[in-house]
Symmetry: C2
Subunit: 376 residues, 2 copies
Amino acid sequence: MITVDDATEILNRFSLDRRTYVELKDSFGRVLAEDIISGIDVPSFDRSDMDGYAIRDRDLGGRRFKLVGEMHAGGDRDVTIGKGECSWVATGANIPDGANLVVPVENTEKIGDDVIIYEPGKESHISERGCDIKREEVVLSKGCIVNDRNIGILAALGIKNVQVYDAPDVAIISTGDELARINDVNSMTLSAIVAQSGGLPVFMGTVTDDIYRIKQKIKEAAEYDFIITSGGISSGKKDLLPIVVSELGDVLFHRVKMRPGMPMLAGVVDEKPILCMPGNVTSCLVCGHVFLPPIIRRMAHLPFARAGDVRRARLLEAAVSEYGMRRYLPVKLVDGVAYPTFKGSSLITSIGCADGIVAIGEEETLTEGEVDVWVL
Amino acid sequence: MITVDDATEILNRFSLDRRTYVELKDSFGRVLAEDIISGIDVPSFDRSDMDGYAIRDRDLGGRRFKLVGEMHAGGDRDVTIGKGECSWVATGANIPDGANLVVPVENTEKIGDDVIIYEPGKESHISERGCDIKREEVVLSKGCIVNDRNIGILAALGIKNVQVYDAPDVAIISTGDELARINDVNSMTLSAIVAQSGGLPVFMGTVTDDIYRIKQKIKEAAEYDFIITSGGISSGKKDLLPIVVSELGDVLFHRVKMRPGMPMLAGVVDEKPILCMPGNVTSCLVCGHVFLPPIIRRMAHLPFARAGDVRRARLLEAAVSEYGMRRYLPVKLVDGVAYPTFKGSSLITSIGCADGIVAIGEEETLTEGEVDVWVL
């Protein structure tokens, strides 16, 4: 038997480095697999921030300017102004050649072909070429997660496709003769944990406790990046997964010092990690929460920090653990109180409405009062 | 001009109550639109929790039992045991008629056709029919979000399809002649905010500052549940959205006491809400974060609480606000310090790498020291 921490450490060896291009509109939430270097200046021209008149600041000794042109946003007209001249500029328009100052329209009056400036204002009201982003600038780094703000930077650069890390495809298999008579729960709960950890669940179906069929199914599943099974890992005659994994590849660990979830097994088949979860529905969910987020998020190049989701709460009743085993106690959180929900590892209602887990360390035997709760 | 709070209150009138059925495997993260009432007992039979021998507890005066059958998980064999008899039961198997106790195999020895019981144990090791979920029980309520745990309850009941609330389809339109020369940023940033708020963004394309074309585009967009535009809401000649919205429907408010984002407009077209964001990229993103999550999450029947994402941080430099206007200051959070990133509302780098926003209230003019930061 191995501790949870040692088991986690062993699983840290697995990673994935496959990249793909996605359209910018599909990149939200993905992880950049390349540094993004700007190919352009943003803005790509000196741009007016106001509706008004563009002039040369050194002409401000005078107040009456001759209107010689107009520039509109998106327009491609070229206007050049000289001494004592001005041009209409709309917000977002190119600044005419020669001009270096925009006087807001509200500070002016147009009289015939002339414009009178009452108050030039204190700012130039010009966004100079490259003032937002400079050409050749590294704007986003590899490993950055695309979000609603930095996607704006990518869009501003005119990027249409972006290179991101592929999320791992995760094959999910439920095993057990009992699935002929009861509904398969584990494939759904494991798929959901995989999805929220950043992986892509692929349900491979259920398989009976038949060594040939289980082997076939796992060989098929080894096409994917990661394999998760449930059931068949205890010590009964029909618990075939330990045999199958050792015959198809290597067992990395079997049995973990934790409850529920003790029978858990991990191995490698065709260089792909395989995690074999207990068939009991609550044990399977607990093992899923303990082991899947770190490995899947690492494969997806997403950061992982369990500590980010920890909240303090008062445990309603003292919880006892078996010495040397880490206990995971599902709880429902209501107004700062953690109500244990565990009734038995084969019952889905032991965790089905829980919203947190209290972990009791291997060295503790009793926990009460204020505890840390992982929020699920 | 209207305050942010009054504007938010006005938008509270919009909701959506469209339902759809999805396959259970696609229900993760969706909101149940019906109470879920169990149609079955779970387990649907008295089930053994251990590999062992099933007996009648009243026979425990003796220690030697005659083996009369075996029950396997998923099997459909019927075994009945009588006085002094036992049956093999595997974990997950049906308990034979007559038996009410399972003795774990490790506490027994098989000798020929007889089984010797050394230690009966303290528990029955039987999960009785319905002990997990009872038939007719309301297991999940309308409004519940399907997660990795409660999806297990739905799976245990054998539910294949589940009724959920439809997420709103949100039409997104970028307007402005300037889009001929600069890249469209707002459609990407707005789409991302819509998606992370629980809506389904539908990009309708860009449109020039042409009243006929804008009208056409908005009429098409009114097929969807909610319309968002950017650009064309200031007071220039080309700012046509206020006219278009008032001609096609009603303007609910125009100009909000906030910076950036002051020109914002909201209205109704064909009974659908329309929000018209400023064209300036950072103003548009700020308005998106202020106004979109509450309305989209309400339409999607998802809970919304801005307070859930607030963190305290030390603002690096004092921030000044204009009296009567709420100021939204994008910041980058590093080790508990909030560094302002704002450079100008037309520059994407004013918010592109920010990870929070500090709101300065209408009554304050200066904020410094420890502040609340909305984490984006």
